[in-house]
Amino acid sequence: MRPALWLTLALVPITGCDAIYEDLRPSGGPADAGPVAADARTVPDDGDASLAPTSLARGRWEGRTGYSASGGVTLERDPDGSVHLRFEDDFDSQAVPGPVVVLSPRAELGTAIEPAAGDRQLGELERASGPQRYAVPAGAEDAAYAWVYCLPFGVEVARASLAPVEAP
């Protein structure tokens, strides 16, 4: 056997081997789950008080299907008219594989996100705890629930029921 092959075999336990990925989606598109706005999912919080957003709805995270989650979430409109979903500082959830943030009128998502039912993906969850904001597309401002959802396995991780905030 050639020395190069021996060297390769010896290095495998040290370096490991990258797995090969195969896309199995029938259409080659995003798995019947609607677009994931990965590039525009979060917006910076500039902290300027004169540009304070208006709260539209608030809720508290609760764990689903055995997973834990806590903390607050607010749906808010910036002075420029854009709408965002803001996770409060106390947000904390269990880290799971493939989490995305979803707004939906549905109280249960089950094993699939359904754009036809009004589900809107806001993007991949940036981190499992701490403050973060996600841009909300037009038409999703009236969602009754915010979700953290394991997209690949189709599992509900956390849900927040969004209650409208009364205007002052």
Binding site: C17, I20, V100
Partner: protein
């Protein structure tokens, strides 16, 4: 042929498991060995969540080619093992799949007792040869990247498991029934922040010493893993990573073809688990066992 005859002649009831399968408590003599090539399949439409409840999910399929080997180095005192999946494919139906090498494990066992029962101590090291965070490749969209990362073929950490195995084989008086029992208990020291685990296995085997039927060995096996503490970060449900616990039960039927070769068919089901697919795992295998015959002893 003389070699085969000698191997058969040295077969004893107390060596029952060692002749036909993984035999940690029965450490092999120097030069003796056993290798097993298997295919495993698992298809699940739900999995056990972090609290142990079954949760419906995207259909998951796993195909794996497994390789396991044991070789004796020093009579009773040292046996080396190697195990892993040269090919493992994790698939989320109509979504994506990863294929690659799994983590490998190498082990060393030493026999502490031979009588009145077998007792052995082993150290197994898990090597991170699999891919803990597969990549969907450049240009892949977010769904593909999320899916790829959800289907690791390894856990990315080196771990050490200390194990004790006890076994005993015997014939029921006035019958043609031979039995063996084996229990393995271990402590898995995990690294990179993973939670340590207790691993265990208990199995019982039955053989009927009658013509032809004696070629079959039926084994019922209970296997499990328990977490020593709570795990907060769940890496996935592809069978690797942190937060996994389970208790599984299943039968396996082994058939000795002859000349050291054997076939095996088995199934097991985790009736309680966390962060694992909920499905029956099916397994088929072919094995080869050899007994070292010192030069000159055949004449």
């Amino acid at each position: 042929m003389k070699r085969a005859a000698l191997a058969a002649a040295t077969f004893a009831v107390l060596c029952l498991p060692a002749s036909t399968g993984e035999a940690q408590a029965w450490t092999r003599d120097a030069g003796d060995g056993y290798v097993n090539l298997s295919y495993r399949y698992l298809g699940a439409d739900s999995f056990y969540g972090n609290d142990g409840a079954r949760v419906g999910s995207t259909p998951f399929r796993q195909h794996a080619i497994g390789l396991y080997g044991e070789v004796g180095v020093v009579d009773r005192w040292l046996m080396l093992t190697l195990g892993g999946d040269p090919m493992r494919r994790n698939e989320l139906v109509d979504l994506g799949a990863t294929t690659g090498l799994s983590d490998l494990s190498v082990g060393a066992w030493t026999g502490l007792l031979v009588e009145p029962f077998r007792l052995a101590f082993g150290v197994t090291v898990g090597l991170p040869t699999g891919d803990p965070s597969p990549d969907a490749g450049p240009g892949a969209d977010t769904v593909a990247q999320l899916t790829a990362r959800t289907l690791p073929t390894g856990d990315g950490e080196t771990d050490v498991t200390l194990q004790v195995a006890a076994g005993h084989g015997f014939r029921i008086p006035d019958t043609s029934l031979e039995l063996f029992v084996q229990a393995v208990l271990g402590y898995a020291i995990r690294t990179t922040g993973f939670t340590d685990q207790i691993v265990y296995r208990a199995e019982a085997g039955l053989r009927i010493r009658e013509p032809f039927v004696e070629r079959f060995l039926l084994i019922v096996r209970l296997t499990g893993t328990e977490l020593l503490g709570s795990s907060t970060a769940i890496g996935g449900v592809a069978g690797v990573g942190d937060g996994i616990s389970f208790t599984a039960l299943g039968p396996e039927l082994l058939f000795e073809i002859g000349e050291g070769f054997g076939l095996g068919f088995g199934a097991d089901f985790a009736f309680r688990a966390t962060n694992l697919p909920a499905a029956v795992a099916l397994k088929g295998s072919i094995s080869y066992r050899w007994d070292f015959v010192p030069p000159g002893s055949e004449s």
